[in-house]
């Protein structure tokens, strides 16, 4: 009897655990060094180390905050907007006296992961989201101001949005038909709306992009903007960074399946193809509009495709992913040209043009290509039976609306929190370095070292 009872309690599968450990490391790689190099190559050599440092230290700080309280705010039951402090300081995750690890659900009934592993995997998401913002105000913000802003924005924007989009009681809570509605009501607000966001189009990309754009406005333009050349100092490093991002993104997207199974494979292949399609689209767009396809364009196209396929990767079909990639490549090319001029902000490394535009394109098209009529996998009608919405009942219009509502809420929430956070930092620490320091370069002015010695 005891043996049977033990067998009935779900145990993590070793394959799933191994897969998710690898995915967690892959997403670490996306921030450091991939994003750091991608961004670093795009700034002038006098600011190289400042970008690397802002990414490296933001990453480390957010990981600590995530373990201390961020995970709990995002992924425990609370209200529709934010979780509780039940897991603050990692309480209840691991009992050394009995050697037991708490488990958490995945997307399949009876399949669980050690909750510590899920926490670690999600830590890398929180960290890279904050690191993404760095690109918007690169080359002019005080180091202390960057970190202070990150603490505020992470706490009041990232954790709540992650909760709203991703928190739900898990499939094993749906043990009867009567429990479907009560369980749904325990989930985050955007999850309740039925929005599909497989790996973080809203939580990560739109969220970060809006915070970045607000920052570009509030920190102000770089000295010499529009008059002096701000040429990227090493597109070689930018290419290395973009390629490593692509590699790491397999962990980000396919890992978001939380299991080593079919869903992960679908997300993996879609991440592969959409990104390649976006590279081609950006290069074709450049060749047609400007006469030459550029390395920076190809690298930017890859990131645009990766961003756009993020919410879609496990939620759309194979051809849908290619379409999303192509559309994202062209859309983000517009994002860093036409849209950038319209917005008039000095978003140094085009965080909004790529992550904002790509994120919105991906979020909306997820609602289109999720439809089984267009080759998509559909989504569960209810989590008691796990039956999928049938093609005849699937409404693309209402799904796109559910996606659009999530985009709008994320834009407003992130924007308001970011504006308040920048303002608070401005009146306390001050956002910008002095003009003299900016001219000299942040490497020496903020960190007392130089990236390159001739």
């Amino acid at each position: 009897m005891n043996a049977l009872a033990t067998a009935a309690a779900a145990m993590p599968n070793k394959g799933d655990v191994a897969w998710m450990l690898v995915c967690t490391v892959l997403v670490v790689l996306m921030s450091i060094p991939a994003l750091a190099l991608f961004y670093g190559g795009l700034v002038r050599s006098k600011n190289m180390l400042s970008v690397l440092m802002q990414v490296f230290v933001t990453f480390s700080m957010i990981v600590v905050l995530w373990f201390l309280y961020g995970y709990s705010l995002a992924f425990t039951e609370g209200n529709a907007f934010v979780g509780s402090l039940d897991r603050a300081f990692m309480r209840g995750m691991f009992d050394p006296l009995t050697g037991t690890f708490a488990t958490t659900g995945t997307f399949s009934k009876g399949v669980v992961l050690p909750e510590l592993l899920f926490m670690a995997f999600q830590a890398t998401f929180a960290a890279i989201t904050c690191c993404l913002i760095v690109g918007a105000f690169a080359e002019r913000m005080k180091f202390a101001a960057v970190l202070a802003f990150m603490v505020l924005w992470f706490t009041f924007a990232y954790a709540p949005i992650a909760h709203m989009v991703w928190f739900w009681p898990g499939p094993d809570a749906y043990t009867s038909k009567a429990l479907v509605d009560p369980n749904n009501l325990k989930a985050g607000l955007i999850w309740q709306w039925g929005t599909l966001d497989f790996a973080g189009g809203t939580v990560v990309h739109i969220n970060a992009a809006v915070a970045g754009l607000v920052g570009a406005y509030m920190v102000g333009k770089r000295v010499g903007y529009g008059r002096e050349a701000f040429t990227p100092h090493s597109l070689t490093l930018t290419m290395v960074g973009a390629a490593l991002l692509w590699v790491g993104w397999f962990g980000f997207n396919a890992g978001s399946a939380l299991e080593a199974g079919n869903s992960a494979v679908l997300a993996f292949v879609n991440t592969f193809s959409a990104t390649a399609a976006a590279v081609l689209a950006w290069c074709i767009g450049e060749a047609v509009l400007k006469g030459k396809a550029s390395m920076l364009g190809a690298a930017s196209g890859a990131v645009a495709g990766l961003v756009a396929i993020t919410p879609a990767c496990g939620n759309v079909g194979l051809l849908g992913a290619l379409v999303i990639g192509f559309v994202a490549g062209f859309a983000c090319l517009w994002g860093v040209n036409g849209l950038k001029k319209l917005l008039g902000a000095d978003d140094s490394l085009d965080v909004f043009g790529v992550h904002g535009v790509g994120g919105i394109v991906g979020a909306l098209l997820t609602g289109v290509f999720n439809s089984p009529a267009l080759g998509g996998p559909s989504f569960p009608d209810n989590w008691f039976t796990g039956e999928l919405v049938k093609p005849e009942n699937y409404s693309i219009a209402s799904q796109v609306w559910a996606q659009a509502k999530a985009v709008l809420l994320t834009v407003v929430w992130s924007g308001v929190v970011a504006a308040i956070a920048y303002k608070l930092v401005d009146v306390t620490i001050g956002l910008r370095v002095s003009e003299e320091d900016e001219r000299e370069g942040l490497d020496i002015a903020s960190h007392g070292e130089t990236a390159y010695h001739a």
């Binding site: 050349a229 030459k292 920076l296 040209n337 001029k341």
Partner: protein, 112 residues
Amino acid sequence: MKMVTAIVKPFKLDEVREALGAIGVQGVTVTEVKGFGRQKGHTELYRGAEYVVDFLPKVKLEAAVDDALVERVIEAIEGAARTGKIGDGKVFVSTLEQVVRIRTGETGKEAL
């Protein structure tokens, strides 16, 4: 004595050096420089931002030579550095008042 200063395209440096060696020039100083002439610059495009690059990279050679050798030096540089396209560079010749070999203290022609 004359100081011959030539501005040439960087990829022509080796040919110029060989041509000068062949006619007996004993030493040349080479500097990587930037500048503009009739070739003008070019534009570079980074995403939405377009920058005009006014100064193009060139190589500057300086050779101190005896008066008797000046014409052949000019011919050698011209022959080796010419591509026929705009931006091939220029040769400047000026009078050199004094030369000192630091090791021996020799001056004038002896020091060339």
